[in-house]
Symmetry: C2
Subunit: 255 residues, 2 copies
């Protein structure tokens, strides 16, 4: 039975304050909830329609999951989506050890205050596509467990480790001194004329302000995505810029 | 004086139904409204703060614009934005002649039912960055004059021509028979192993369903953006995929 308290608890996780207080977030959707259960994440509870439970019986038993059968109406009451999709799970927010995770043997993405949930979600999805395992965000970056971010990652949030830290501390204390640190800047060098080293860092700046001046000092190479001559566009969308750069870093592996 | 009727009229343009009825849409923001006035678009009225009017006096006079000075409070009442930004304009929706515009001497983007406003906005912005002048959309694609689309184009909506048509008619009657028609498909050929011809068409499919089967028949070449081996990601965000493809089409011009 879906009690008022349970509804209230799930609904509270829409807000960053309560996600932090309970150290939990919500994952929704038929496929992503199945993927979630099969992952290393700690699932606190699952609310799902009968059809989903039937289809996932094995998975539920193998993982000894607390699953609550609910009606379509009840799902609508707890869902954050306009079109609720069969299952909703409450998950413990994982805590990753930044130092252990970031070994810099492959590309690491650093986000300097990305604020749009859709952009963060798309960047996580792109990172996953290109096998990038770690994204290091400034504290001012939008919360990765914001429902809109979770949804737009399309499941990639379960595979890419997203860290929050003070970026100055990160560069001063964790990044090896000889590591190449690339940054996407409008006044950088033509991306296609630079030699791109894969075990490096790629910094993407804020949607309107770009890379902040106190982070720019750590860049060893500034990259510009060329536009056509006389283009009147000031910049690309942040997730689009990140994707074009990631594709170019990986390009040589696909030829 | 900002009358109730004016407020009601502007507010009505949030809805597709009234945008079509009045053949108007809303553009907001200090910079984009200035750009709009300097463009070929027919501006019906401008509502702006005194500071904006002072800064744009020349532009207003040169274009004999109907400008209404409003207060911050009044701007908040008519704005579609959470953070209103100095000026709002009501604009006549331009009508482009598809046949005259699409001469196929450069890349043309075709959108087969893109539904997310942020995706359409980002694609228009990317097209503008790469000098792509025409985007041809299926009737089911989200309305380009949806306020979220307009905002996320960051002004590129003033420069890129976005057409709506029946895509089957378009391919049957307007596209030359020998034209290369590329499509982004998960089961396509490795993008980097294909010879990309610039005077061609690039088709991007729907966020969840991809390119529909009745459009797939027109493709002469199927392109796949390679992912790393063993990637568990099914697909990239549609605007991200469009951007990686456009960048690759233009890459040779930047080397």
């Amino acid at each position: 039975m879906l009690t008022k308290n349970k509804i209230k608890h799930v609904q509270s996780l829409k807000r960053s304050k309560f996600r932090k207080e309970y150290n939990e977030f919500v994952v929704e959707g038929e496929k992503i909830v199945s993927e979630l259960i099969a992952s290393d994440h700690k699932v606190k509870s699952v609310f799902a329609l009968d059809s989903w439970i039937q289809n996932n019986q094995d998975l539920i038993e193998r993982n000894q999951l607390k699953t609550e059968r609910i009606s379509t109406k009840e799902l609508e009451r707890i869902s954050f989506l306009k079109m609720p999709n069969k299952a909703l799970a409450v998950v413990e927010s994982p805590s990753y050890n930044l130092k252990e995770c970031c070994t810099f043997d492959d590309l690491t993405i650093v986000l300097d205050t990305i604020q749009d949930p859709g952009n963060l979600g798309a960047i996580i999805r792109t990172a996953d596509w290109y096998g990038i395992k770690n994204i290091v965000c400034s504290h001012e970056t939008v919360d990765v467990y914001n429902p809109k971010v979770v949804q737009s990652t399309m499941g990639s949030i379960l595979r890419v480790k997203v860290h929050y830290t003070d970026l100055k501390d990160f560069f001063n204390n964790l990044v090896p001194k000889n590591l190449e640190v690339y940054g996407a800047l409008l006044e950088g060098n033509n991306l296609y004329e630079e030699k791109l080293i894969t075990n490096s860092i790629l910094v993407i700046g804020n949607e309107s302000k770009g890379i902040s001046s106190n982070i720019e000092q750590y860049l060893t190479s500034k990259l510009r995505i060329p536009s056509v001559k006389n283009s009147k566009v000031e910049s690309l969308n942040a997730s689009v810029a990140a994707a074009i750069l990631c594709a170019e870093f990986r390009r040589k592996d696909f030829i």
